[in-house]
Symmetry: C2
Subunit: 208 residues, 2 copies
């Protein structure tokens, strides 16, 4: 017996919110190695959307590990549960009409497929933030590669834990070949293409 009675159909709907704000919601799922540039691009996209008067929010994997995912570690099942909670959180913002920018390594295809299944295929933009592990390790913004090589971190993705590159990402950003500005431009254009003006607003000036 499941004493759960969802209220979704009586809440203010996503479409109502989208129509008011002039663009659709979307989940932008940024996957890649530590140091590949996910957070930098995610921060820049959030700022750009704000500057363009669109509703966007960064759901950063590290931030959420201090919040809804507190207590989860880095074992396979914990990482999967972390991905699940981030995806569920993103879906809440999506239902509110927002662009939820999720930035987390999410190293395996099964994890990203889980996220896609929770969000829904039509609303999910998988962005592969791609740089060779040697480049990421040389950047080492957080000092994590050094720590991993010194043995202070184990199960570090790209070193002693696998990263499965997306086979067919919706967008591929090779951050070791393009500048941050070029990557942001490609990312923003793809997001705008997806969130476009909502149907009822196509004859008005959209927000972005």
């Amino acid at each position: 017996m499941n004493p759960i009675y969802p209220l979704r159909d009586r809440m203010v709907s996503r479409v109502q919110r989208e129509n008011r704000q002039g663009h659709k919601g979307l989940v932008v799922w940024m996957t890649g190695l530590s140091g590949s540039g996910k957070s930098t691009l995610a921060l820049a996209l959030e700022r750009k959307l704000f500057d363009e008067h669109c509703q966007g929010i960064l759901l950063d994997g590290d931030n959420l590990r201090n919040g809804i995912s507190r207590g989860l570690g880095f074992r396979e099942e914990d990482r999967l549960e972390n991905v699940r909670r981030v995806a569920e959180t993103a879906r809440l913002f999506l239902d509110a009409g927002w662009v939820a920018i999720c930035s987390l390594i999410s190293p395996s295809r099964s994890m990203r497929d889980l996220a896609r299944s929770i969000v829904g295929n039509d609303d999910f933009l998988e962005v592969f933030v791609d740089a060779p592990v040697e480049v990421c390790a040389s950047r080492d913004v957080k000092g994590l590669y050094r720590m991993a090589k010194e043995g202070a971190l184990s199960g570090f993705t790209g070193l002693d834990a696998p990263y499965e590159p997306p086979g067919h990402p919706d967008l591929h950003l090779p951050t070791s070949e393009l500048s941050p500005e070029e990557c942001l431009d490609l990312l923003y254009q793809e997001v705008v293409r997806r969130i476009g003006p909502s149907p009822s607003l196509q004859d008005k000036k959209a927000s972005c």
Copy 2:
């Protein structure tokens, strides 16, 4: 060694979002027995805020049990973890400048204190949606009281599990004494008092 590097200080800030939209964020935490009227009032408040061009979202306990809290049951520790995740989710919406309306029984003071500590005291509005258990059982909108009395549900709050009324709620709504319209009016007025125009907008027309 904790390989977690939050990005909060580089994200679009809550104040920036609040200044743009013209009102502050808030977490409205509605506690009370099943059948006390929490969901009805929460839905009405969400709709009212939308109609008044404020950013408000209902985070309903039952909805979230199908999302971020999937897999949790109704034992004490599961309920506490559910409250924790709802509060963390509410804080994300608060950080985005929204009014997050949380509707869940949250039967014990320790649970509500946990939620308050996660959200922060200044941004937390505890609303006691109060009706005697006999009244709730006679309404029995979801048929849960009948099921509990027939033994199909155990640990049902108000019957065979305790509900600790808030000692000093920020707002007390006796739904068996006031009409739904009167309760909504009291609730909305208190919310507006708390979210008021943000400081930079006090000389402009606020959204609500």
